[in-house]
């Protein structure tokens, strides 16, 4: 059986209430219209007061030691409200990467800071749209007398301007990948980009011979493929949950609109074609939500490879769903659906941008097929 524990249920209800109030349409638009890096007040509440960043961090490092399910609950809800906070970057990308690949010192320092809500962290992935973005970095790290010199550009880093720390995977001279942690203003150049989806800011990162100390190298003897895959599975799971949530959010907005809008003397909610399309979204939400939470329950328990396949499947379902829910939101809003004033376009832009992250639909299905056919994929 698959259901929330009473504690999880409580986390969920409180987070939902909180986000409905704090990540309102107006709050989102303040960030989007200003091109801001994030909603600083909301982030302070989430990270410091509510302690959401501590959920999945092991107790040994100051966290609550809860599982993937709690994180997925929160990701779904932040997605539903398009909350403009570096929560996914910090918790689903960075913290998990540090946990999987970091040295004990790095874990103590950074996981502790994240758990305490003192730090927003992101990861400078080489190619954000690649299914395996850890391996594609073009940043090079050359050993120096007292540390390393980092050189390279990363075209797009999510939440970079909001982050207190950026983890940079870089290729060492021997070809191995190391992880470097750069706090604010330590030589990197950050250029916020003008993006279509303003709810999730992106910036480019430039490292022009940036000297870093050996203590800034945070991996425990190189980033292994297993660690990278484990971190990536968690990032994808969190993203799938967020996408699922955004789909639910788009549907909620749409249901409210069609219940009010009158045409031909009827609410448009009374038109069967519209009912059926909303119902089909419910079907797809049920499907995606089941796989997201099923995969979350399996993560850690099940065979890691099989778990990663479920996560890939969850990404496929959630990406399809999120886009369709957003496009239906625009369509069923009619004329106002493509105006700036109503919310569907926010969901829509987020949907396209999210679908492009961490592997296309096709790439995730290819991965599943390679396993189902047990042939390693088409060459």
């Amino acid at each position: 059986m698959l259901e929330f524990t009473p504690d999880q249920q409580m986390i969920r209800e409180e987070a939902q209430r909180f986000l409905r109030e704090q990540s309102s349409s107006e709050a989102i638009r303040r960030v989007v219209d200003a091109g801001a890096s994030h909603d600083a007040g909301l982030w302070a509440s989430i990270s410091r007061e509510l302690g959401w960043c501590a959920m999945a961090i092991p107790e040994a490092f100051g966290g609550l030691g809860l599982g993937a399910t709690e994180v997925v609950i929160l990701m779904e809800l932040t997605g539903a409200r398009l909350a403009c906070v570096p929560f996914w970057s910090t918790v689903c990308m960075a913290a998990r990467l540090i946990e999987a690949a970091g040295s004990e010192a790095a874990k103590t320092k950074y996981l502790g800071a994240i758990a305490a809500g003192e730090m927003a962290v992101t990861v400078a992935l080489g190619d954000l749209s690649a299914a395996n973005p850890m391996s594609g970095t073009s940043v090079r790290a050359v050993k120096s007398a007292d540390g390393y010199v980092l050189t390279g550009k990363v075209a797009q880093v999510i939440d970079l301007a909001a982050a207190d720390l950026v983890i940079v995977p870089a290729q060492l001279e021997d070809g191995a990948t190391a992880l470097f942690a750069l706090e604010r203003d330590t030589g990197q150049v950050i250029l916020p980009l003008k993006v279509i989806d303003g709810t999730r800011p992106v910036a480019s990162l430039e490292l022009a011979s940036v000297a870093v100390s050996t203590t800034q190298r945070i991996d425990a003897g190189g980033l292994t493929d297993a660690a990278a895959q484990s971190a990536l599975a968690f990032a994808n799971l969190g993203l799938a949950a967020e996408q699922l949530g955004a789909a639910q959010g788009a549907l909620d907005v749409t249901l409210a609109y069609v219940a009010e809008r009158v045409q031909f003397g009827r609410t448009i909610a009374s038109f069967q074609a519209i009912k059926h399309r909303c119902a089909e979204l419910v079907v797809d939400i049920a499907e995606a939500r089941s796989l997201v939470f099923g995969a979350a329950a399996g993560l850690g328990g099940m065979d890691a490879a099989e778990s990663a396949l479920e996560v890939s499947g969850a990404r496929v379902l959630a990406s399809d769903l999120q886009f369709r829910a957003a496009e239906e939101a625009i369509q069923l809003h009619g004329g106002v659906g493509f105006t700036w004033e109503y919310d569907p376009h926010l969901y829509f832009k987020r949907a396209q941008a999210s679908a492009a992250l961490l592997g296309s639909r096709e790439a995730h299905l290819d991965r599943i097929a390679a396993s189902v056919f047990a042939d390693g994929g088409l060459k």
Binding site: V258, S270, G294, G313, R367, A369, V372
Partner: protein, 391 residues
């Protein structure tokens, strides 16, 4: 090994020993689209199951069952399907009629009918749908008139989509017992033997050539006074409760059989080179994904979560599996390419061909896609109801 795992092993062992010999022929048979296959042997198999104590294992012990937990029932269904256990002739009795009698029947009715179900010797079919009341269940026109002399009910009318009526002993019938009543009111729930002169059964030939469904004609047929379940007028309530028993645990067994079908498709694709097609690979991967999601959805539906969200999403299950299965049928044929069209003596291909054809019924019986979407929109989302017309 957990209790459920030990139980799982017990089922697996029992099936390995018993689904052999003459019963080996039944492996993977009698499923959707060929529910009428090998009926006599499958009835014998029901008695074999009964002898092993595997009929009605989810019923409480006081009623002759094993009182299995939900987790054990799931394990049973899964292992039964995994072993290739044939389509259950006793399904209606075990899954619908028995639970309904346990809930609403008199002591005397339980005593008369439960043993035949438990022993795999009496088979039931259902009399719900009518030609003009397919999705519109409230439009039932079959009449039941009280015979004032005997207290029996005299039934006239027609039921359709009665699965396996021609191989069954009893039918339960929802009929209109109050003259002039409409909709949900004035219905009665009757138990009727099929072998009586004024009942005629006409098989309906299906898309795949089989005929597991029937039209059943009643022309003054008789239900005994003591064979009314509940009170006259309670028919709707009892029928709805009965349908409620249908949802549930057997879906996990069904999923096991879906997984087998998907495995077959993968196997054939590897043999005939369809696995080199990027589009086929993507579709197979997508089917795999949908099946995983369905598995978790079923587990959520079977959980105790009573939130509005959980109840809404539970409404999607029928739509989900039936459409998934329907699409799997097409995928299977596309993988088979030209061979899909040729009926040959290849049980794997035949299984997939029958599945392809009969899966077309999946999205229709038990509430069409359109009805399911209405239900999800209206009950799940609270959207306005479709108005009833006046034709």
């Amino acid at each position: 090994m957990s209790g459920v795992e030990a139980f799982r092993t017990e089922v697996r062992d029992w099936m390995a020993i018993h689904l052999t010999g003459k019963f080996a022929e039944l492996k993977f048979r009698g499923g959707s689209g060929e529910g009428d296959a090998l009926p006599e042997l499958r009835k014998e198999w029901e008695r074999e199951l009964a002898a092993g104590g595997w009929t009605c294992p989810g019923w409480a012990k006081e009623h002759g069952g094993r009182g299995l937990s939900v987790a054990e029932q799931i394990a049973f269904q899964e292992e039964y399907s995994r072993a290739g256990g044939p389509g259950r002739m006793g399904h209606i009795g075990e899954g619908l009629m028995g639970p309904t009698l346990i809930a609403f029947g008199t002591e005397e009715q339980k005593k008369r009918f439960l043993p035949g179900i438990l022993s795999g010797t009496e088979f039931w079919c259902q009399g719900y749908s009518e030609p003009s009341a397919g999705s519109d269940f409230g439009n039932i026109k079959t009449r039941a008139k009280l015979d004032p002399v005997t207290g029996d009910w005299i039934v006239s009318g027609q039921k359709v989509w009665t699965s396996l009526a021609h191989l069954s002993d009893w039918i339960f019938v929802v009929a209109r017992c109050e003259e002039g009543s409409i909709g949900r009111n004035g219905l009665i729930f009757l138990l009727m033997p099929l072998s009586q002169p004024d009942v005629e059964i006409h098989p309906i030939k299906q898309i795949g050539g089989g005929a597991e469904f029937n039209s059943v004609f009643f022309d003054g047929a008789r239900a005994k006074a003591e064979d009314v379940v509940g009170q006259p007028g309670d028919g709707w309530k009892i029928a709805m409760a009965l349908l409620g028993f249908e949802r549930g645990i057997s879906t996990l067994g069904q999923q096991m059989s879906f997984q087998q079908e998907l495995d077959l498709i993968v196997e054939i694709a590897r043999e005939n080179g369809s696995d080199r097609s990027p589009a086929i690979r993507q579709r197979v991967a997508y089917a795999w994904t949908g099946l995983r999601a369905m598995r978790y959805l079923a587990m959520r539906v079977l959980s105790d979560d009573q939130s509005a969200e959980a109840r809404r999403e539970a409404l999607t299950y029928k739509y989900q599996w039936s459409n998934w299965h329907r699409d799997l049928g097409r995928l299977a044929m596309d993988v088979l390419k030209m061979d899909a069209n040729v009926v040959a003596d290849d049980p794997r291909r035949e299984r997939l061909q029958q599945m392809f054809l009969f899966a077309r019924a999946d999205t229709i019986y038990g509430g069409t896609n359109e009805i399911q979407l209405n239900i999800i929109a209206e009950q799940g989302l609270g959207m306005p109801k479709e108005p009833r017309g006046k034709l």
